[in-house]
Amino acid sequence: MSLILRTATRFLLPLLLLFSLFLLLRGHNSPGGGFVGGLVAAAAFALYALAFDVAAARQLLRIDPRQLIAVGLLVALASGMVAWLAREPFMTGQWSYITVLGIGPVPLGTPLIFDLGVYLVVVGVMLTIILSLAEE
């Protein structure tokens, strides 16, 4: 394997992950969102797996990507069910404003949590497929 690729990857990985979070958090107002963000995160780990090897990528990830799938689905599902607490139909958005340090009041709602669920599922799925395939 190439030393250059490995070294570059070590620096690109956090950059890609940061970018993926950026896309996730900003997606409600600008291009991006859970799916795109999740793909970028998956791409980051995929790059790592290609540059090093699958075992290293799994070690880096620590959590089994299949569990990410389940957790992601759970998050998405739960975000939709929150509406039931307010006696409203499934997936009715529940919003409140939260003051974020340095940015100010930011609307936080269940659709954003739903997007997070999407993010997790996408990461989990892509990594499950790519890592299993690369192990062949």
């Binding site: 030393l3 250059i4 940061l18 970018f19 900003r26 880096l60 974020v100 340090l101 340095g102 940015i103």
Partner: protein, 158 residues
Amino acid sequence: MTIFLWNILLALAWLALTGVFTPGNLVVGFGLSYVILRFAQYAIGPSPYFGKVFDVIRFILFFLYELIASSLRVAHDVLTPTHYMRPGVIAIPLEIESDEEITLVANLISLTPGTLSLDVSADRRTLYIHAMYVDEEDIDAFRQKIKRFERKVLEVTR
């Protein structure tokens, strides 16, 4: 140390990406980056760090000059019917040792039109590059030119 630097850089990148330049956002960015770095600590080994802002700026200017000059040279060759180039694969002995430095040098060489890093020897003592304009008579002159390049990088990193 490197981790700290990288952390700051990532926090700055966060500012740039969100476009909200406030101290608070810097803290948020720092926090996020910290989490990610911590998460990714297997990937980033320990590495010494020496900050030399002045050297950095000087190096950037030098690099830009090289970039534009060689770009024009390649462009000229591309756009004219005859090929002036004298390509070859040259081995460059390396002084630098760390992965990061080798990568930096190799990438800068690659970025410059006319040269392309092909491979690093297993003992990391030699960098093989493909170059478009090699003087047949004096390959060592070419080697020296690249070595100068390497030293400039060393000035920045060490």
